[in-house]
């Protein structure tokens, strides 16, 4: 076991290398430059290729090519760059090519700012590019999860032949904390008989997302959908903290959930029983797990660093018979535990 004091970005990059990353293409953008900088040094040492492309469009298309050769591939960027990649992500999904995409998200819309943000929740979880598809999305809230969820993303991407997204933020990416660098035993990249160069072919191999004949496309879309249904059965991740006796349950992901934990401690010291439900896989969303909390609690407090995006999912899942309140912070200033405690009292009239 390898215990380190690591930055989130380094943890993510180490996880990629431990997962057998062989090809990285990316384009500089703040606040994620630490990931490519780490990989530009370290990836060549393990026989991988690092390329700084001329744009995010080139990066994601290089991934399409490298992934079709059967290698584990990754890119990372931040919000505006991820927007540019959406066409390629849609094509990855349509052509069933595994890839890991990292969004250390920042402020938008437009150029926005470079501070911590959760403004890309909709884009990340509702497809992002054109067409009828979902891709798995994981939201780390610690340096350890930057590592573990990257390993997970590579595994899920290969298993379902899909692009997978890590939705991180600058707080988690640039802070340092204890990391146990442990690649789980038993996870191995599967054989990729579909890839170019893998097996001398009897048949012609074509990788594409173009289906014109008859109902080919419909069949293909249902096939993608079925994979998504499978992911819902197998890949859901979430975390619960002091929910059993809670009067109010906070629903939050990423760095906000991190602050929420301190809020809960503060509130409980002051006699208010708060709990936390934290989706870790944003797609597939832990719907049943969240809904089951309504058996013991009727008050839910959604907190996000945006004007209310995951809120729509929570409202859809919990329905109208519970009391849902929302606090949003669409700026780079991460709310403090005190802020959230005071907001909870204000919004629930305590």
């Amino acid at each position: 076991m390898n215990k380190l004091f690591s930055r989130g970005s380094d943890a993510l990059a180490m996880a990629a290398i431990d997962s057998g990353l062989k090809f990285y293409a990316g384009y500089p953008i703040t606040p994620q430059n630490d990931i490519p900088e780490f990989l530009s040094r370290e990836l060549p040492k393990v026989g991988g290729t690092f390329v700084q492309a001329e744009s995010e469009v080139a990066s994601i298309n290089m991934l399409l090519g490298a992934s079709s050769c059967g290698f584990r591939v990754m890119t990372s960027s931040s919000s505006p760059g991820i927007s540019l990649m959406q066409e390629g992500i849609s094509y990855l999904a349509g052509s069933e090519l595994p890839a890991v995409i990292v969004n250390v998200s920042r402020w938008g819309p437009g150029l926005g700012g470079i501070g911590a943000s959760q403004g890309d929740y909709h884009q990340a979880t509702k497809g992002g590019g054109h067409g009828d598809y979902f891709i798995p999305v994981f939201a780390p809230y610690s340096v350890q999860e930057m590592y573990d969820l990257t390993v997970k993303a590579f595994d899920v991407a290969d298993k379902y032949r899909t692009p997978a997204l890590i939705l991180a933020d600058v707080m988690i990416s640039l802070m340092r904390e204890t990391l146990i660098r442990r690649y789980p035993e038993g996870i191995k990249p599967p054989e990729k008989s579909w890839a170019f160069g893998e097996r001398k072919g009897e048949r012609q191999k074509i990788i594409k997302s173009l289906y014109l004949k008859g109902n080919e496309l419909e069949v293909h879309n249902w096939k993608l959908h079925k994979k998504f249904e499978e992911m819902k059965k197998n890949e859901i991740l979430f975390d619960k903290y002091l929910c059993d006796d809670a009067d109010i349950i906070i629903v939050a992901f990423g760095m906000v959930a991190r602050v929420a934990r301190s809020t809960i401690e503060l509130a409980r010291e002051n006699g208010l029983k708060l709990g936390l439900f934290r989706p870790i896989s944003l797609v597939p969303y832990p719907e049943e797990e969240l809904f089951s909390l309504t058996k013991t609690c009727k008050n839910f407090f959604v907190i996000e660093m945006n004007t209310g995006q995951m809120l729509y999912d929570v409202m859809r899942i919990l329905g109208r018979n519970v009391n849902i309140r929302f606090y949003g912070k669409p700026s780079s200033y991460v709310p403090t535990p005190d802020d959230l405690f005071n907001k909870a009292k204000e919004l629930f009239n305590i």
Binding site: Y27, N33, P36, P44, Q52, E54, E56
Partner: protein
């Protein structure tokens, strides 16, 4: 010192001390002053990068656009209202990396825009990665083992792809740069100035001590800017220890606006559409 206060804003530039952007900033303000411009005679379009921060420091119409997309935005402005003087600026990453495709297409369109490339041969704002004009072997944060690719040659590209005014300036030669900017703005057609712009923080090897002894003025060398072959020869001669600055190439050709029937007489913004009636057209469609 020229009195170019009119183009100052209340903000002091935030570039690093010694940054080559100061020279470009000063030259632009001086050029506007010498041309007798008012603040609303010019529309500048900025890219994303340290160069783009200029948007806060110069008092003219300003559009701070998307990384790499200055030229399409500038083209939109020029084609909607070609009475405005449009000056676009980009970093080398912005204009020759992510925006290179737009650069080539704007050259071939020959729209009357002045385009200034702040060429520091590095990505400044993102703190020191390789850029499309970094030399081979260049070690940076993203190329610890040295750059493999051959650099982009913006001047040669512009010359062969249809730009009608192609020059190189140096932000250490401010008066010369001012004169280039004035001539570029006066020129009818797409005018490109690639400016050697030291980045003292992230690319100190290509700074004033490197450029000062190497630059020489093409006009002193007796170069005739209408001579395509000689212009290209100078543009391609990148391994010489002497670096030419000045006008490489300048010819007269109809601009896009002059060649377009709708735009020839007046800008789109001056067409009166208040009493346009489409009833006749609808009648015609009905009858057919």
């Amino acid at each position: 010192m020229k009195d170019n206060q009119k183009f100052n804003t209340y903000q002091t530039p935030s570039w690093c001390p010694g940054c080559g952007n100061f020279g470009i900033w000063y030259a632009l303000k001086s050029a506007y002053t010498e041309l007798g411009f008012d603040n609303n005679d010019v529309c500048m379009v900025f890219g994303i990068g340290c160069s783009g921060n200029l948007s806060n420091f110069i008092k003219v119409y300003g559009f701070h656009s998307i990384h790499g997309r200055t030229l399409p935005v500038a083209s939109g402005i020029k084609l909607a209202n070609h009475k405005l003087n449009v000056v676009a600026t980009s970093g080398d990453g912005d204009g020759l990396g992510i925006g290179l495709g737009h650069f080539i297409h704007t050259c071939r369109r020959n729209i009357d825009i002045t385009y200034i490339i702040h060429d520091n041969r590095v990505y400044g704002l993102t703190t020191g990665q390789t850029s499309p004009t970094s030399p081979q072997g260049f070690q940076s944060k993203s190329t610890p083992f040295g750059v493999i690719e051959q650099p982009i040659n913006p001047l040669a590209l512009a010359i062969i792809q249809g730009a009608t005014f192609v020059a190189r300036g140096y932000s250490g030669e401010i008066d010369h740069l001012t004169s280039l900017i004035i001539q570029a703005i006066k020129h009818k057609g797409f005018a490109v100035i690639d400016v050697l712009q030291p980045c003292v923080t992230f690319n100190p090897n290509f700074s004033y001590p490197f450029y000062n002894p190497r630059v020489f003025k093409l006009e002193d060398a007796g170069h005739n800017p209408e001579d395509f072959n000689n212009a290209l020869k100078y543009a391609l001669d990148v391994n010489n220890d002497k670096i030419p600055i000045g006008i490489f190439y300048k010819i007269s050709k109809p601009t896009y606006e002059e060649s377009s029937e709708e735009l020839r007489d007046k800008p789109l913004s001056e067409y009166d559409i208040s009493d346009i009636s489409i009833s006749e057209l609808i009648e015609e469609i009905r009858e057919s």
